[in-house]
Protein backbone atom coordinates (compact mmCIF):
# COMPACT_ATOMS: atom_id res chain seq x y z
CA UNK A 1 0.00 0.00 0.00
CA UNK A 2 2.85 2.35 0.85
CA UNK A 3 5.93 2.20 -1.27
CA UNK A 4 8.92 4.49 -0.77
CA UNK A 5 11.89 4.25 -3.12
CA UNK A 6 15.19 6.01 -2.50
CA UNK A 7 13.45 8.80 -0.67
CA UNK A 8 15.67 11.68 0.47
CA UNK A 9 14.72 14.77 2.36
CA UNK A 10 17.29 17.53 2.68
CA UNK A 11 16.99 20.69 4.74
CA UNK A 12 19.14 23.73 4.32
CA UNK A 13 20.14 24.85 7.81
CA UNK A 14 22.36 27.91 7.54
CA UNK A 15 24.97 26.91 4.99
CA UNK A 16 24.82 23.28 5.98
CA UNK A 17 22.75 20.63 4.22
CA UNK A 18 21.01 18.28 6.65
CA UNK A 19 20.03 14.87 5.29
CA UNK A 20 16.98 14.11 7.40
CA UNK A 21 16.18 11.14 5.21
CA UNK A 22 18.88 9.45 3.22
CA UNK A 23 17.76 7.06 0.48
CA UNK A 24 14.99 5.35 2.43
CA UNK A 25 13.28 2.34 0.84
CA UNK A 26 10.17 1.14 2.64
CA UNK A 27 7.16 -0.94 1.67
CA UNK A 28 4.21 -1.29 4.02
CA UNK A 29 1.35 -3.68 3.34
CA UNK A 30 -2.24 -2.95 4.13
CA UNK A 31 -3.13 -3.88 7.70
CA UNK A 32 0.41 -3.82 9.12
CA UNK A 33 1.28 -2.41 12.58
CA UNK A 34 4.66 -0.76 12.25
CA UNK A 35 6.60 1.00 14.97
CA UNK A 36 9.40 3.41 14.17
CA UNK A 37 11.95 3.97 16.90
CA UNK A 38 15.20 5.80 17.06
CA UNK A 39 16.97 8.65 18.79
CA UNK A 40 15.78 12.18 18.18
CA UNK A 41 17.15 13.59 14.97
CA UNK A 42 17.18 10.17 13.37
CA UNK A 43 14.56 11.22 10.81
CA UNK A 44 11.54 9.33 12.11
CA UNK A 45 9.29 12.41 12.32
CA UNK A 46 10.40 13.52 8.86
CA UNK A 47 9.55 10.04 7.58
CA UNK A 48 6.11 10.27 9.19
CA UNK A 49 5.51 13.73 7.70
CA UNK A 50 6.40 12.51 4.24
CA UNK A 51 4.23 9.41 4.62
CA UNK A 52 1.43 11.71 5.79
CA UNK A 53 1.87 14.01 2.77
CA UNK A 54 2.56 16.98 5.03
CA UNK A 55 6.03 17.17 3.57
CA UNK A 56 7.47 16.24 0.19
CA UNK A 57 10.58 14.23 -0.52
CA UNK A 58 13.50 16.08 -2.07
CA UNK A 59 14.20 13.01 -4.16
CA UNK A 60 12.74 9.57 -4.70
CA UNK A 61 9.29 8.24 -5.31
CA UNK A 62 6.31 7.67 -3.03
CA UNK A 63 3.44 5.50 -4.20
CA UNK A 64 0.31 5.43 -2.07
CA UNK A 65 -2.25 2.81 -3.14
CA UNK A 66 -0.35 2.49 -6.42
CA UNK A 67 -0.51 6.21 -7.27
CA UNK A 68 2.57 8.41 -7.39
CA UNK A 69 1.94 11.14 -4.81
CA UNK A 70 5.39 12.74 -4.69
CA UNK A 71 4.54 15.32 -7.32
CA UNK A 72 0.93 16.16 -6.51
CA UNK A 73 -0.08 19.78 -6.02
CA UNK A 74 -1.34 21.17 -2.70
CA UNK A 75 -5.00 20.66 -3.40
CA UNK A 76 -4.55 17.00 -4.48
CA UNK A 77 -2.37 16.34 -1.44
CA UNK A 78 -5.10 17.75 0.78
CA UNK A 79 -7.57 15.37 -0.90
CA UNK A 80 -5.28 12.42 -0.27
CA UNK A 81 -4.83 13.37 3.39
CA UNK A 82 -8.54 13.72 3.79
CA UNK A 83 -9.40 10.34 2.27
CA UNK A 84 -6.50 8.07 3.11
CA UNK A 85 -4.56 9.32 6.12
CA UNK A 86 -5.36 9.82 9.78
CA UNK A 87 -3.02 11.71 12.13
CA UNK A 88 -2.57 11.32 15.88
CA UNK A 89 -0.24 13.78 17.60
CA UNK A 90 1.62 13.75 20.86
CA UNK A 91 -0.05 17.02 21.94
CA UNK A 92 -3.51 15.96 20.65
CA UNK A 93 -4.11 19.19 18.69
CA UNK A 94 -7.73 19.42 19.68
CA UNK A 95 -9.47 22.75 19.15
CA UNK A 96 -10.15 24.10 22.64
CA UNK A 97 -13.43 25.92 21.90
CA UNK A 98 -15.05 22.86 20.29
CA UNK A 99 -16.51 19.97 22.28
CA UNK A 100 -15.60 16.32 21.69
CA UNK A 101 -18.24 15.75 19.02
CA UNK A 102 -17.35 18.96 17.18
CA UNK A 103 -13.65 18.11 17.23
CA UNK A 104 -14.35 14.69 15.77
CA UNK A 105 -16.64 16.26 13.19
CA UNK A 106 -13.96 18.67 11.91
CA UNK A 107 -12.58 16.47 9.07
CA UNK A 108 -16.15 15.86 7.91
CA UNK A 109 -16.87 19.62 8.04
CA UNK A 110 -13.89 20.18 5.75
CA UNK A 111 -15.12 17.38 3.47
CA UNK A 112 -18.57 18.98 3.27
CA UNK A 113 -20.51 16.22 5.01
CA UNK A 114 -23.99 17.32 6.06
CA UNK A 115 -24.64 18.25 9.69
CA UNK A 116 -27.01 15.38 10.44
CA UNK A 117 -24.88 12.58 9.08
CA UNK A 118 -21.59 13.87 10.49
CA UNK A 119 -23.08 14.30 13.96
CA UNK A 120 -24.35 10.73 13.88
CA UNK A 121 -21.01 9.40 12.69
CA UNK A 122 -19.03 11.41 15.28
CA UNK A 123 -21.19 10.12 18.15
CA UNK A 124 -20.81 6.58 16.90
CA UNK A 125 -17.00 6.89 16.74
CA UNK A 126 -16.77 8.47 20.21
CA UNK A 127 -18.99 5.78 21.67
CA UNK A 128 -16.71 3.14 20.19
CA UNK A 129 -13.83 4.90 22.00
CA UNK A 130 -15.70 4.59 25.28
CA UNK A 131 -16.47 8.33 25.38
CA UNK A 132 -20.25 8.10 25.10
CA UNK A 133 -20.57 10.10 28.33
CA UNK A 134 -18.16 12.82 27.23
CA UNK A 135 -19.70 13.96 23.94
CA UNK A 136 -20.39 17.53 25.01
CA UNK A 137 -17.18 18.05 26.97
CA UNK A 138 -14.59 20.49 25.75
CA UNK A 139 -10.93 19.40 25.77
CA UNK A 140 -10.24 21.28 29.03
CA UNK A 141 -12.93 19.17 30.70
CA UNK A 142 -11.30 15.91 29.62
CA UNK A 143 -8.34 13.95 30.99
CA UNK A 144 -5.22 13.43 28.88
CA UNK A 145 -6.23 9.90 27.95
CA UNK A 146 -9.71 11.03 27.01
CA UNK A 147 -8.31 13.83 24.90
CA UNK A 148 -6.11 11.43 23.00
CA UNK A 149 -9.07 9.12 22.46
CA UNK A 150 -11.04 12.05 21.03
CA UNK A 151 -8.07 12.79 18.77
CA UNK A 152 -7.93 9.17 17.63
CA UNK A 153 -11.65 9.31 16.99
CA UNK A 154 -11.08 12.39 14.80
CA UNK A 155 -8.28 10.61 12.92
CA UNK A 156 -10.41 7.61 11.95
CA UNK A 157 -13.74 9.32 11.37
CA UNK A 158 -13.15 9.51 7.60
CA UNK A 159 -12.19 5.78 7.43
CA UNK A 160 -8.59 6.33 6.34
CA UNK A 161 -6.36 3.57 4.99
CA UNK A 162 -3.48 4.37 7.31
CA UNK A 163 -3.14 5.93 10.75
CA UNK A 164 0.08 7.84 11.47
CA UNK A 165 0.76 8.40 15.15
CA UNK A 166 3.63 10.56 16.41
CA UNK A 167 4.39 9.68 20.05
CA UNK A 168 0.69 9.08 20.79
CA UNK A 169 1.40 8.23 24.43
CA UNK A 170 4.17 10.77 24.94
CA UNK A 171 2.04 13.05 27.12
CA UNK A 172 0.11 10.35 28.97
CA UNK A 173 0.46 8.45 32.24
CA UNK A 174 0.88 4.68 32.06
CA UNK A 175 -2.79 3.90 32.64
CA UNK A 176 -3.99 6.25 29.88
CA UNK A 177 -1.17 4.97 27.67
CA UNK A 178 -2.36 1.41 27.86
CA UNK A 179 -5.94 2.48 27.08
CA UNK A 180 -4.70 4.29 24.00
CA UNK A 181 -2.53 1.34 22.99
CA UNK A 182 -5.51 -0.99 23.34
CA UNK A 183 -7.56 1.21 21.06
CA UNK A 184 -4.77 1.33 18.49
CA UNK A 185 -4.53 -2.45 18.62
CA UNK A 186 -8.22 -2.80 18.11
CA UNK A 187 -8.21 -0.46 15.13
CA UNK A 188 -5.32 -2.39 13.62
CA UNK A 189 -7.16 -5.62 14.24
CA UNK A 190 -10.12 -4.19 12.27
CA UNK A 191 -7.80 -3.76 9.28
CA UNK A 192 -6.38 -0.23 9.65
CA UNK A 193 -2.67 0.08 8.86
CA UNK A 194 -0.82 1.67 11.74
CA UNK A 195 2.51 3.52 11.83
CA UNK A 196 3.61 4.66 15.25
CA UNK A 197 6.67 6.78 15.95
CA UNK A 198 7.57 6.24 19.59
CA UNK A 199 10.18 6.28 22.29
CA UNK A 200 8.01 3.98 24.36
CA UNK A 201 9.44 0.43 24.21
CA UNK A 202 6.06 -0.90 25.32
CA UNK A 203 4.30 0.18 22.12
CA UNK A 204 7.38 -0.40 20.05
CA UNK A 205 7.57 -3.95 21.27
CA UNK A 206 3.90 -4.66 20.58
CA UNK A 207 4.17 -3.82 16.88
CA UNK A 208 4.44 -6.70 14.46
CA UNK A 209 7.07 -4.86 12.53
CA UNK A 210 9.69 -2.72 14.18
CA UNK A 211 11.82 -0.22 12.33
CA UNK A 212 14.84 1.38 13.90
CA UNK A 213 16.25 4.57 12.41
CA UNK A 214 19.51 6.42 12.76
CA UNK A 215 20.90 9.35 10.78
CA UNK A 216 18.10 9.31 8.24
CA UNK A 217 18.38 5.62 7.42
CA UNK A 218 16.43 2.55 8.45
CA UNK A 219 19.03 0.44 10.21
CA UNK A 220 16.79 -2.36 11.37
CA UNK A 221 13.54 -3.85 10.04
CA UNK A 222 12.30 -6.71 12.27
CA UNK A 223 9.04 -8.53 11.59
CA UNK A 224 7.71 -10.59 14.50
CA UNK A 225 5.47 -12.61 12.20
CA UNK A 226 8.39 -14.03 10.23
CA UNK A 227 11.19 -14.58 12.67
Amino acid sequence: MIELQKVCRHFQVGDQMVHALDHVDLTIQSGEFVSIMGPSGSGKSTLLNILGLLDRPTQGSYRLNGADVAKLDDSKLADQRQKNIGFVFQSFHLIPRLNAVENVELPMVLAGVSMASRRKRARQVLESMGLGERLDHRPDQLSGGERQRVAIGRSIVMNPKVLLADEPTGNLDSHSSSEVIDILHRLNHDGLSLLVVTHDPEIGGQAQRRLAMRDGRIIQDADSRSP
Binding site: L54, A78, R81, F87, H93, V109, L110
Partner: protein
Protein backbone atom coordinates in the same frame (compact mmCIF):
# COMPACT_ATOMS: atom_id res chain seq x y z
CA UNK B 1 -16.86 22.48 2.88
CA UNK B 2 -20.34 23.96 3.16
CA UNK B 3 -20.78 27.74 3.20
CA UNK B 4 -22.77 27.57 6.42
CA UNK B 5 -19.90 25.69 8.07
CA UNK B 6 -17.36 28.25 6.86
CA UNK B 7 -19.57 31.00 8.28
CA UNK B 8 -20.01 29.16 11.55
CA UNK B 9 -16.29 28.53 12.04
CA UNK B 10 -15.46 32.15 11.19
CA UNK B 11 -18.11 33.37 13.60
CA UNK B 12 -16.73 31.15 16.37
CA UNK B 13 -13.30 32.71 15.87
CA UNK B 14 -14.82 36.17 16.18
CA UNK B 15 -16.50 35.23 19.44
CA UNK B 16 -13.30 33.75 20.78
CA UNK B 17 -11.47 37.07 21.12
CA UNK B 18 -14.08 39.54 22.38
CA UNK B 19 -11.63 42.39 23.05
CA UNK B 20 -9.98 42.13 19.66
CA UNK B 21 -13.37 41.87 18.00
CA UNK B 22 -14.84 44.86 19.80
CA UNK B 23 -11.79 47.02 19.01
CA UNK B 24 -12.06 46.19 15.32
CA UNK B 25 -15.79 46.72 15.30
CA UNK B 26 -15.22 50.10 16.88
CA UNK B 27 -12.66 51.10 14.24
CA UNK B 28 -14.98 50.17 11.39
CA UNK B 29 -17.98 51.62 13.18
CA UNK B 30 -16.28 55.00 13.63
CA UNK B 31 -15.58 55.14 9.91
CA UNK B 32 -19.14 54.30 8.96
CA UNK B 33 -20.51 56.69 11.58
CA UNK B 34 -18.33 59.45 10.15
CA UNK B 35 -19.66 58.83 6.65
CA UNK B 36 -23.26 58.79 7.86
CA UNK B 37 -22.93 61.90 10.01
CA UNK B 38 -20.93 64.01 7.57
CA UNK B 39 -23.15 63.19 4.62
CA UNK B 40 -26.24 63.84 6.70
CA UNK B 41 -24.88 67.26 7.61
CA UNK B 42 -24.15 68.01 3.93
CA UNK B 43 -27.51 66.67 2.88
CA UNK B 44 -29.29 68.46 5.70
CA UNK B 45 -27.72 71.77 4.69
CA UNK B 46 -28.71 71.19 1.08
CA UNK B 47 -32.29 70.35 2.00
CA UNK B 48 -32.50 73.33 4.29
CA UNK B 49 -31.29 75.81 1.69
CA UNK B 50 -33.20 74.36 -1.22
CA UNK B 51 -36.28 74.00 0.96
CA UNK B 52 -36.12 77.71 1.64
CA UNK B 53 -36.06 78.44 -2.07
CA UNK B 54 -38.73 75.90 -2.85
CA UNK B 55 -41.06 77.75 -0.51
CA UNK B 56 -40.90 80.65 -2.97
CA UNK B 57 -43.10 78.82 -5.46
CA UNK B 58 -42.11 77.39 -8.79
CA UNK B 59 -42.98 80.22 -11.14
CA UNK B 60 -40.85 82.92 -9.61
CA UNK B 61 -38.17 85.11 -11.19
CA UNK B 62 -35.80 87.30 -9.24
CA UNK B 63 -34.41 90.39 -10.98
CA UNK B 64 -31.10 91.78 -9.70
CA UNK B 65 -29.42 94.99 -10.83
CA UNK B 66 -26.14 94.53 -12.70
CA UNK B 67 -25.09 91.78 -15.04
CA UNK B 68 -23.44 88.87 -13.37
CA UNK B 69 -21.67 87.32 -16.34
CA UNK B 70 -19.34 89.82 -17.88
CA UNK B 71 -19.73 89.98 -21.63
CA UNK B 72 -16.81 91.06 -23.72
CA UNK B 73 -16.42 94.46 -25.33
CA UNK B 74 -13.75 96.98 -26.18
CA UNK B 75 -12.16 98.40 -23.08
CA UNK B 76 -12.92 101.91 -24.25
CA UNK B 77 -16.66 101.27 -24.19
CA UNK B 78 -16.52 100.50 -20.51
CA UNK B 79 -15.12 103.85 -19.56
CA UNK B 80 -17.61 106.26 -18.11
CA UNK B 81 -20.32 103.66 -17.92
CA UNK B 82 -22.33 103.75 -14.72
CA UNK B 83 -24.46 100.80 -13.76
CA UNK B 84 -28.06 101.83 -13.86
CA UNK B 85 -30.16 101.31 -10.81
CA UNK B 86 -33.19 99.11 -10.77
CA UNK B 87 -36.09 101.39 -9.92
CA UNK B 88 -39.72 101.27 -8.95
CA UNK B 89 -40.50 102.48 -12.47
CA UNK B 90 -38.74 99.40 -13.85
CA UNK B 91 -40.87 97.24 -11.56
CA UNK B 92 -44.06 98.92 -12.75
CA UNK B 93 -42.97 98.41 -16.38
CA UNK B 94 -42.34 94.73 -15.74
CA UNK B 95 -45.76 94.38 -14.19
CA UNK B 96 -47.33 95.36 -17.52
CA UNK B 97 -45.96 92.28 -19.28
CA UNK B 98 -48.78 89.84 -20.09
CA UNK B 99 -46.64 86.93 -18.88
CA UNK B 100 -46.25 88.47 -15.42
CA UNK B 101 -48.96 88.09 -12.82
CA UNK B 102 -47.45 89.92 -9.86
CA UNK B 103 -44.40 92.03 -9.11
CA UNK B 104 -42.96 92.78 -5.70
CA UNK B 105 -40.04 95.21 -5.47
CA UNK B 106 -37.64 94.99 -2.55
CA UNK B 107 -35.44 97.70 -1.13
CA UNK B 108 -33.43 96.99 1.99
CA UNK B 109 -31.64 99.04 4.56
CA UNK B 110 -31.12 99.27 8.25
CA UNK B 111 -32.07 101.79 10.85
CA UNK B 112 -32.51 102.36 14.56
CA UNK B 113 -35.99 101.46 15.61
CA UNK B 114 -37.42 102.66 18.87
CA UNK B 115 -40.63 102.31 20.85
CA UNK B 116 -40.86 104.10 24.20
CA UNK B 117 -37.54 103.38 25.92
CA UNK B 118 -36.62 100.42 23.75
CA UNK B 119 -34.24 100.85 20.87
CA UNK B 120 -32.36 98.52 18.54
CA UNK B 121 -30.80 98.27 15.09
CA UNK B 122 -33.10 96.52 12.68
CA UNK B 123 -33.26 95.59 9.03
CA UNK B 124 -35.96 97.32 7.03
CA UNK B 125 -37.52 95.83 3.94
CA UNK B 126 -39.41 98.18 1.66
CA UNK B 127 -41.90 96.38 -0.56
CA UNK B 128 -45.57 96.16 -1.52
CA UNK B 129 -48.60 94.07 -0.58
CA UNK B 130 -47.65 91.64 -3.37
CA UNK B 131 -44.56 90.44 -1.47
CA UNK B 132 -46.74 88.49 0.94
CA UNK B 133 -48.40 86.39 -1.75
CA UNK B 134 -45.14 85.90 -3.63
CA UNK B 135 -43.33 84.72 -0.47
CA UNK B 136 -46.32 82.82 0.95
CA UNK B 137 -46.01 84.65 4.24
CA UNK B 138 -48.70 84.12 6.87
CA UNK B 139 -49.91 86.76 9.31
CA UNK B 140 -49.87 86.20 13.02
CA UNK B 141 -51.91 89.26 13.74
CA UNK B 142 -53.37 92.25 11.90
CA UNK B 143 -52.87 93.03 8.20
CA UNK B 144 -49.99 93.05 5.74
CA UNK B 145 -49.14 96.24 3.84
CA UNK B 146 -52.17 97.83 2.16
CA UNK B 147 -52.59 97.59 -1.62
CA UNK B 148 -51.07 100.90 -2.66
CA UNK B 149 -49.39 101.91 -5.86
CA UNK B 150 -45.66 101.40 -5.68
CA UNK B 151 -44.93 105.11 -5.60
CA UNK B 152 -47.28 105.89 -2.74
CA UNK B 153 -45.77 106.11 0.72
CA UNK B 154 -47.71 105.35 3.87
CA UNK B 155 -46.85 105.50 7.55
CA UNK B 156 -47.51 101.85 8.32
CA UNK B 157 -45.29 98.89 9.09
CA UNK B 158 -45.44 95.13 9.61
CA UNK B 159 -43.15 93.41 12.14
CA UNK B 160 -41.36 90.08 12.15
CA UNK B 161 -42.04 87.93 15.22
CA UNK B 162 -38.64 88.48 16.84
CA UNK B 163 -38.87 92.24 16.44
CA UNK B 164 -42.39 92.19 17.85
CA UNK B 165 -41.34 90.22 20.93
CA UNK B 166 -38.29 92.36 21.60
CA UNK B 167 -40.21 95.61 21.47
CA UNK B 168 -43.60 94.72 22.83
CA UNK B 169 -43.18 91.51 24.87
CA UNK B 170 -46.72 90.57 25.81
CA UNK B 171 -48.22 93.92 24.90
CA UNK B 172 -50.41 94.22 21.79
CA UNK B 173 -48.33 96.00 19.13
CA UNK B 174 -51.22 96.67 16.73
CA UNK B 175 -51.92 100.36 16.45
CA UNK B 176 -48.74 101.36 18.25
CA UNK B 177 -46.45 103.91 16.63
CA UNK B 178 -42.76 103.08 16.34
CA UNK B 179 -39.96 105.24 15.11
CA UNK B 180 -37.31 104.16 12.61
CA UNK B 181 -34.69 106.90 12.46
CA UNK B 182 -36.83 109.95 11.55
CA UNK B 183 -39.69 107.96 10.13
CA UNK B 184 -42.74 107.24 12.25
CA UNK B 185 -45.06 104.39 11.40
CA UNK B 186 -48.06 102.59 12.85
CA UNK B 187 -47.84 98.83 13.38
CA UNK B 188 -50.65 97.22 11.38
CA UNK B 189 -49.60 93.58 11.40
CA UNK B 190 -47.22 90.90 12.66
CA UNK B 191 -45.89 88.11 10.45
CA UNK B 192 -46.07 84.48 11.56
CA UNK B 193 -42.71 82.92 12.26
CA UNK B 194 -41.10 82.08 8.91
CA UNK B 195 -37.35 81.95 9.46
CA UNK B 196 -35.25 82.52 6.37
CA UNK B 197 -37.16 83.20 3.21
CA UNK B 198 -34.71 83.74 0.44
CA UNK B 199 -32.14 86.27 1.61
CA UNK B 200 -34.18 87.68 4.49
CA UNK B 201 -34.57 86.44 8.01
CA UNK B 202 -38.20 87.41 8.05
CA UNK B 203 -38.47 87.24 11.82
CA UNK B 204 -35.90 90.05 12.20
CA UNK B 205 -37.52 92.44 9.70
CA UNK B 206 -39.63 95.53 9.80
CA UNK B 207 -41.56 95.82 6.54
CA UNK B 208 -42.70 99.18 5.21
CA UNK B 209 -44.16 100.35 1.86
CA UNK B 210 -41.47 100.64 -0.80
CA UNK B 211 -42.01 104.37 -1.33
CA UNK B 212 -41.68 104.99 2.42
CA UNK B 213 -38.40 103.03 2.49
CA UNK B 214 -37.09 105.12 -0.41
CA UNK B 215 -37.79 108.27 1.57
CA UNK B 216 -36.30 106.78 4.73
CA UNK B 217 -33.02 105.83 3.03
CA UNK B 218 -33.14 108.62 0.49
CA UNK B 219 -32.50 106.05 -2.24
CA UNK B 220 -34.28 104.95 -5.37
CA UNK B 221 -32.30 101.86 -6.22
CA UNK B 222 -34.03 98.53 -5.56
CA UNK B 223 -32.27 95.50 -4.08
CA UNK B 224 -34.26 93.18 -6.32
CA UNK B 225 -37.64 92.65 -7.91
CA UNK B 226 -39.59 89.47 -7.32
CA UNK B 227 -41.64 88.54 -10.39
CA UNK B 228 -44.38 85.95 -10.35
CA UNK B 229 -45.04 84.48 -13.79
CA UNK B 230 -48.55 83.57 -14.94
CA UNK B 231 -47.71 79.86 -15.33
CA UNK B 232 -44.80 77.43 -15.08
CA UNK B 233 -44.61 77.10 -18.88
CA UNK B 234 -44.20 80.84 -19.29
CA UNK B 235 -41.15 81.18 -17.00
CA UNK B 236 -38.59 81.25 -19.82
CA UNK B 237 -40.69 83.58 -21.97
CA UNK B 238 -41.26 85.89 -19.03
CA UNK B 239 -37.52 85.91 -18.31
CA UNK B 240 -36.76 87.14 -21.86
CA UNK B 241 -39.64 89.58 -21.64
CA UNK B 242 -38.35 91.09 -18.38
CA UNK B 243 -34.86 91.46 -19.83
CA UNK B 244 -36.25 93.17 -22.98
CA UNK B 245 -38.47 95.53 -20.97
CA UNK B 246 -35.68 96.66 -18.69
CA UNK B 247 -33.18 96.84 -21.58
CA UNK B 248 -35.53 99.18 -23.45
CA UNK B 249 -35.82 101.37 -20.38
CA UNK B 250 -32.03 101.37 -19.78
CA UNK B 251 -31.02 102.77 -23.18
CA UNK B 252 -30.55 99.31 -24.72
CA UNK B 253 -28.14 98.22 -22.05
CA UNK B 254 -28.70 94.71 -20.72
CA UNK B 255 -27.66 95.46 -17.15
CA UNK B 256 -29.82 93.18 -15.04
CA UNK B 257 -29.67 89.56 -14.03
CA UNK B 258 -32.84 87.50 -14.03
CA UNK B 259 -32.71 84.25 -12.17
CA UNK B 260 -35.43 81.66 -12.01
CA UNK B 261 -35.98 79.72 -8.83
CA UNK B 262 -34.95 76.54 -10.62
CA UNK B 263 -31.63 78.06 -11.65
CA UNK B 264 -30.90 79.06 -8.04
CA UNK B 265 -31.93 75.66 -6.79
CA UNK B 266 -29.79 73.95 -9.40
CA UNK B 267 -26.75 75.96 -8.37
CA UNK B 268 -27.26 75.24 -4.71
CA UNK B 269 -27.82 71.58 -5.38
CA UNK B 270 -24.58 71.36 -7.33
CA UNK B 271 -22.63 73.10 -4.59
CA UNK B 272 -24.08 71.05 -1.77
CA UNK B 273 -23.71 67.79 -3.64
CA UNK B 274 -20.04 68.58 -4.13
CA UNK B 275 -19.67 69.34 -0.42
CA UNK B 276 -21.46 66.14 0.55
CA UNK B 277 -19.32 64.02 -1.76
CA UNK B 278 -16.17 65.63 -0.40
CA UNK B 279 -17.25 64.97 3.19
CA UNK B 280 -18.11 61.37 2.34
CA UNK B 281 -14.73 60.94 0.67
CA UNK B 282 -12.89 62.25 3.72
CA UNK B 283 -14.88 59.96 5.98
CA UNK B 284 -14.23 57.02 3.68
CA UNK B 285 -10.51 57.42 4.31
CA UNK B 286 -11.15 56.37 7.90
CA UNK B 287 -12.70 53.19 6.54
CA UNK B 288 -9.53 52.43 4.64
CA UNK B 289 -7.60 53.01 7.86
CA UNK B 290 -9.95 50.56 9.56
CA UNK B 291 -9.17 48.13 6.76
CA UNK B 292 -5.45 48.39 7.48
CA UNK B 293 -6.25 47.71 11.12
CA UNK B 294 -8.22 44.62 10.12
CA UNK B 295 -5.21 43.45 8.15
CA UNK B 296 -2.89 43.86 11.14
CA UNK B 297 -5.23 42.12 13.53
CA UNK B 298 -5.82 39.27 11.10
CA UNK B 299 -2.07 38.85 10.67
CA UNK B 300 -1.78 38.52 14.43
CA UNK B 301 -4.66 36.06 14.38
CA UNK B 302 -2.84 33.94 11.81
CA UNK B 303 0.24 33.69 14.00
CA UNK B 304 -1.87 33.02 17.08
CA UNK B 305 -3.65 30.21 15.30
CA UNK B 306 -0.69 28.68 13.51
CA UNK B 307 -1.12 25.27 15.12
CA UNK B 308 -4.80 25.23 14.35
CA UNK B 309 -4.10 26.03 10.71
CA UNK B 310 -1.55 23.20 10.64
CA UNK B 311 -4.15 20.85 12.08
CA UNK B 312 -6.75 21.88 9.50
CA UNK B 313 -4.22 21.18 6.78
CA UNK B 314 -3.41 17.76 8.25
CA UNK B 315 -7.14 17.03 8.29
CA UNK B 316 -7.31 17.75 4.57
CA UNK B 317 -8.17 21.46 4.40
CA UNK B 318 -7.26 22.96 1.03
CA UNK B 319 -5.59 26.38 0.71
CA UNK B 320 -8.81 27.68 -0.78
CA UNK B 321 -10.76 26.63 2.31
CA UNK B 322 -8.33 28.31 4.69
CA UNK B 323 -8.39 31.50 2.63
CA UNK B 324 -12.18 31.29 2.74
CA UNK B 325 -12.20 30.95 6.52
CA UNK B 326 -9.96 33.95 7.18
CA UNK B 327 -11.62 36.15 4.55
CA UNK B 328 -15.03 35.30 5.94
CA UNK B 329 -13.81 36.30 9.37
CA UNK B 330 -12.46 39.63 8.09
CA UNK B 331 -15.66 40.34 6.18
CA UNK B 332 -17.82 39.40 9.19
CA UNK B 333 -15.84 41.82 11.32
CA UNK B 334 -16.31 44.61 8.81
CA UNK B 335 -20.02 43.86 8.29
CA UNK B 336 -20.65 43.85 12.03
CA UNK B 337 -18.63 47.05 12.38
CA UNK B 338 -20.59 48.64 9.56
CA UNK B 339 -23.90 47.72 11.20
CA UNK B 340 -22.76 49.15 14.52
CA UNK B 341 -21.62 52.26 12.63
CA UNK B 342 -25.00 52.60 10.93
CA UNK B 343 -26.59 52.41 14.38
CA UNK B 344 -24.28 55.08 15.81
CA UNK B 345 -24.72 57.21 12.69
CA UNK B 346 -28.51 57.03 12.88
CA UNK B 347 -28.37 57.89 16.56
CA UNK B 348 -26.04 60.80 15.77
CA UNK B 349 -28.34 62.20 13.10
CA UNK B 350 -31.26 61.91 15.53
CA UNK B 351 -29.28 63.89 18.11
CA UNK B 352 -28.36 66.50 15.49
CA UNK B 353 -31.98 66.79 14.44
CA UNK B 354 -33.01 67.18 18.07
CA UNK B 355 -30.39 69.91 18.55
CA UNK B 356 -31.23 71.75 15.31
CA UNK B 357 -34.88 70.99 14.60
CA UNK B 358 -35.19 73.33 11.62
CA UNK B 359 -32.73 71.26 9.59
CA UNK B 360 -33.70 67.80 8.38
CA UNK B 361 -30.53 65.76 8.98
CA UNK B 362 -30.71 62.40 7.35
CA UNK B 363 -27.96 60.69 5.43
CA UNK B 364 -28.81 60.00 1.78
CA UNK B 365 -29.31 56.31 1.04
CA UNK B 366 -26.40 56.26 -1.41
CA UNK B 367 -24.13 57.26 1.47
CA UNK B 368 -25.41 54.45 3.68
CA UNK B 369 -24.88 51.92 0.91
CA UNK B 370 -21.48 53.35 -0.01
CA UNK B 371 -20.33 53.36 3.63
CA UNK B 372 -21.25 49.72 4.15
CA UNK B 373 -19.85 48.71 0.78
CA UNK B 374 -16.56 50.51 1.45
CA UNK B 375 -16.27 48.94 4.91
CA UNK B 376 -16.96 45.45 3.61
CA UNK B 377 -14.70 45.74 0.59
CA UNK B 378 -11.87 47.15 2.69
CA UNK B 379 -12.30 44.14 5.02
CA UNK B 380 -12.17 41.89 1.98
CA UNK B 381 -9.19 43.56 0.33
CA UNK B 382 -7.15 43.88 3.51
CA UNK B 383 -8.18 40.36 4.58
CA UNK B 384 -6.57 38.82 1.52
CA UNK B 385 -2.96 39.14 2.64
CA UNK B 386 -3.44 37.50 6.08
CA UNK B 387 -5.66 34.80 4.58
CA UNK B 388 -3.07 33.92 1.94
CA UNK B 389 -0.36 33.87 4.55
CA UNK B 390 -2.42 31.40 6.59
CA UNK B 391 -3.13 29.23 3.57
CA UNK B 392 0.53 29.05 2.61
CA UNK B 393 1.83 27.99 5.99
CA UNK B 394 3.90 24.86 5.85
CA UNK B 395 1.84 22.24 7.69
CA UNK B 396 4.80 20.61 9.44
CA UNK B 397 6.10 23.90 10.76
CA UNK B 398 2.59 25.08 11.63
CA UNK B 399 1.79 21.95 13.64
CA UNK B 400 5.00 22.46 15.58
CA UNK B 401 3.78 26.00 16.34
CA UNK B 402 6.60 27.68 14.41
Amino acid sequence: MKTTDTARLAFQSIQRYPLRTSMLLLAVAIGVTAVVLLTSVGEGARRYVTGEFESLGTNLLVVFPGKSDTTGGAAGMMIGETPRDLTVDDAMAIERSPLVSQVAPAIAGSGTASWRQREREISVLGTTSKMRTVQHWNMRAGQFLPELDMDVASQVCVLGTTVREEFFGRADPLGQWIRIDNFRCRVIGVLAQAGMTGPFNTDELVIVPVASAQQMFNATSLLRIMVEVVSNDAVEGARRDVIEIVKARHQGEEDITVVSRDAILGTFNTIFDAITYALAGIAAISLVVAGVLIMNVMLVAVSQRTEEIGLLKALGAKQRQIIGLFLTEAVFLSILGALVGLGFGTLGTRLLSAAFPIVDFSAPSWALIAAVATAVSSGLVFGILPARRAARLDPVEALAGR
